[in-house]
């Protein structure tokens, strides 16, 4: 018993070796007491571990959470006012990270997203920080979320001395993904063709989308067929509106959010925590009149949906996958309730309450799987 206890949470200062998401072996004194988040949205994971007080270990973070997901930030700020006092940093990616400020915080570890690697290497930050005994650990839940979110969670759990809690979250997440993946594998339903319109209403351009990663991958896991996967070589890209017509998608999924701060009274659909869903549905209606969707099966069947864009960079993306599956195969997933899943996850793992509003569909949409091409 004593031995197991010691293994799961070594006394402060004891050095452990962890392997990060780039395969680097890093020595860290664990459990870490002071951590800098190279990306603010790492809070999504931290909050599931330090549920009682997610702010306790964070001595600095990037301001991206505050900017990209203000609703979540304000929910945490309401419960943990100390969050407003966390010093913010610029990003490694754009070269605005202030290394002196970081050193002054005396962190036990700095968690960086893998896309920061090049900039970090260029500036030789790792070596400079190592000379001061500050280890850097790379994590990822955006580039390859389906593969990397789990090891990232396990890694942070180990650093925090919260392995059991991390395993609990991982098990929950996997179980929720399996509810979709196993059903799809068992029934092999016809895959409807799906077009994802990325950041609908943020740009006046049409037909930004995802290649075969991120939301593109979520669609595939949910039993859909992403029409942009063969066209867009990387994760992000733009389709010729005519290509969307040529592909003739059965379902249109618009990723959007409340972007009043960027595009005042724009055509964005304000899905997200606590959204006004009738208003969101009204704005979604306008998308049926886009030239790119004219005459497609999606337009004929009114199969238009909007989903919260920030799922693209969140370890809670399994909720999005469940909702996509329910949209694509309503009869197969009649019993699946993504809102209930999300609510349960909040109750079990997060300190803030669940607010619905992440998804919306048009009224009078025809069932999808019936119309899907074989």
């Amino acid at each position: 018993m004593d031995k197991a206890e010691a293994a799961s949470s070594p006394p402060p200062g004891q050095s452990i070796t962890v392997k990060d998401l780039l395969g680097r072996e890093v020595q860290v004194r664990a459990p870490v007491q002071r951590v800098i988040l190279g990306e603010g949205r790492q809070l999504y994971l931290v909050a599931a571990l330090d549920t009682d007080n997610p702010v306790q270990r964070i001595v600095g973070w990037r301001k991206d959470l505050i900017q990209a997901d203000p609703d979540t930030y304000s929910a945490y700020a309401k419960k943990f006012p100390a969050i407003a006092d966390i010093p913010t940093f610029g990003g490694f990616e754009d070269g605005t990270f202030d290394i002196e400020q970081a050193i002054a915080q005396k962190p036990d570890v700095i968690l960086l997203n893998i896309e920061a690697q090049r900039a970090t290497d260029d500036a030789r930050y790792i070596e400079k920080l190592a000379a001061l005994g500050i280890p850097v650990v790379y994590v990822d839940f955006r580039h390859h979320p389906m593969e990397n979110t789990e090891p990232t969670m396990r890694l942070i759990g180990r650093l925090f001395g919260k392995e059991a809690r991390a395993d609990e979250f991982i098990a929950y997440r996997n179980a929720q993904i399996r509810r979709v993946a196993d059903t799809i594998a068992a029934h092999q339903p016809a895959r409807p063709k799906v077009f994802i319109e990325r950041i609908g209403g943020y740009s006046e351009d049409c037909c930004l989308s995802f290649g075969n990663e991120n939301f593109g991958k979520f669609v595939e896991v949910a039993g859909g067929n992403n029409v942009a996967k063969g066209v867009i070589p990387g994760t992000f890209g733009q389709l010729n509106p005519e290509q969307v017509i040529a592909a003739n998608p059965d379902q249109i999924v618009v990723t959007s959010a409340n972007w009043e701060a960027y595009v005042p009274s724009g055509s964005w659909i304000g899905v997200g925590p606590g959204a006004d869903l009738p208003e969101a549905r009204r704005k979604l209606e306008a998308y049926t009149r886009r030239p790119a969707y004219a005459g497609t099966r999606a337009a004929q069947g009114r199969a238009f949906h909007a989903i919260w864009h920030q799922f693209y960079n969140s370890p809670y993306e399994f909720v999005a996958i469940q909702q996509l599956a329910k949209w694509f195969h309503p009869t197969l997933f009649a019993d699946l309730d993504p809102d209930a899943t999300y609510r349960e996850m909040h109750e079990r793992f997060l300190p803030v309450p669940f607010q619905p509003g992440y998804f919306v569909s048009l009224e009078g949409a025809a069932p999808a799987s019936a119309k899907a091409a074989p």
Binding site: D94, E204, V231, F236, A261, A294
Partner: protein, 354 residues
């Protein structure tokens, strides 16, 4: 009197007539190529409609299926025509800037107009700032336009100061380019990564933003400015001989220059506001025209219209065929197509065109 002396003027006028004829043929050639490129642009697309179907949809839109009509009228036509209009407008703007400022490097981009537009657009994209009360959904183009006109206005104001030469104006323009680029970087520094991506994408230019109203406005500006340029064509040609010479012909140089700069600003600001910075056309279009057809505005002006339109039209075709189904940023394509052609013309031309 001996016969050579008698025939010399006749020879000269015959030579002149031959030259005019040659230039007319060149212009006709450009027109044919541009038309071909437009047809190609309309005929190509991921939905494999036949040329016959497309022609039918263009001529009798009510007689074809809804999807074909939407593809041709809402997707292909606005984009293809916008390529022509934007190419023509930017090329003419560049041509007249080079003429009035007597500088081969002048273009809407070297004078900071497009950098200003990018900054205005970035303010909208990153912070939702509207520089001018505008309709929802038009904040970004209106911002871009307002900034472009402000920078043009600033150049006008400075150019009216005593002792300011054309070279000083170009230098001021370059100073503006650096200023606005720095401001743009500042916006990006404070913006979210998503906004930064949108700004970068905007600055690469995209014809998919084209709509009929935007096309209409662009064409209107061209329709207003071109006749005015044509009316001033002899004066503008004279301007290339130098300010003093032009003044000795009775031209009010300062007034002509101001008038031209106002028109250039309109020609550059609208397209940039609508489709983003497609930088290269404004510099290269007029140079290609000048190398092929010379300085005489009667030919140089229509030739600039067509080289610009042709260059952007070809780029439009390439940008949608490079990765079938995807859209490649037009600004990138334009530079990559225009540069090799431009360099080969520079190195291949035997006479100095500038």
């Amino acid at each position: 009197m001996t016969s050579p002396a008698m025939t010399a003027p006749a020879d000269q006028s015959a030579g002149y007539r031959a030259m005019v004829r040659r230039k007319r043929w060149l212009l006709l050639g450009f027109l044919v190529l541009t038309t071909l490129s437009l047809v190609l642009d309309l005929a190509l697309g991921p939905v494999g409609y036949s040329v016959k179907e497309v022609v039918q949809a263009v001529l009798w839109p009510d007689s074809v299926p809804m999807q074909l009509r939407v593809v041709v009228w809402d997707i292909r036509l606005p984009t293809a025509l916008m390529a022509l209009a934007v190419g023509a407008a930017l090329s003419v703007a560049g041509a007249q800037m080079q003429t009035t400022l007597n500088n081969p490097l002048a273009s809407p981009f070297t004078l900071g107009i497009s950098a200003a537009a990018s900054f205005g657009a970035a303010l909208g994209l990153a912070f939702g700032v509207a520089l001018f009360p505008s309709f929802a959904g038009y904040v970004v183009p209106v911002n871009a336009f307002v900034m472009a006109m402000l920078s043009a206005g600033l150049i006008h104001l400075l150019s009216m100061k005593r002792g300011v030469t054309t070279a000083t104006i170009v230098l001021l323009g370059i100073a503006l380019v650096f200023t606005f680029n720095a401001l743009l970087a500042l916006v990006q520094y404070f913006a979210t990564e998503q906004a930064v991506a949108a700004v970068v994408f905007w600055t690469m230019g995209s014809l998919t933003k084209a709509t009929w109203p935007k096309l209409g406005v662009t064409c209107l500006v061209i329709a207003i400015t071109l006749p005015l340029f044509a009316r001033n064509s002899w004066a503008l040609t004279a301007l290339r001989l130098g300010d003093d010479k032009a003044a000795s012909f009775g031209i009010n140089v300062a007034r002509l220059r101001l008038q031209t700069l106002v028109m250039i600003s309109l020609l550059a600001a609208f397209p940039v506001a609508f489709v983003g910075t497609i930088g290269f056309v404004g510099l290269v279009g007029p140079h290609i025209a000048r190398m092929l057809i010379g300085e005489d505005q009667r030919f140089f002006l229509p030739a600039s219209v067509m080289t610009g339109a042709l260059l952007l039209s070809i780029s439009s075709v390439v940008s949608k065929t490079l990765i079938p189904g995807a859209i490649f940023p037009i600004g990138v394509v334009t530079s990559l197509i225009g540069v090799p052609f431009f360099i080969s013309l520079i190195l291949g031309s035997k006479e100095r065109s500038w």
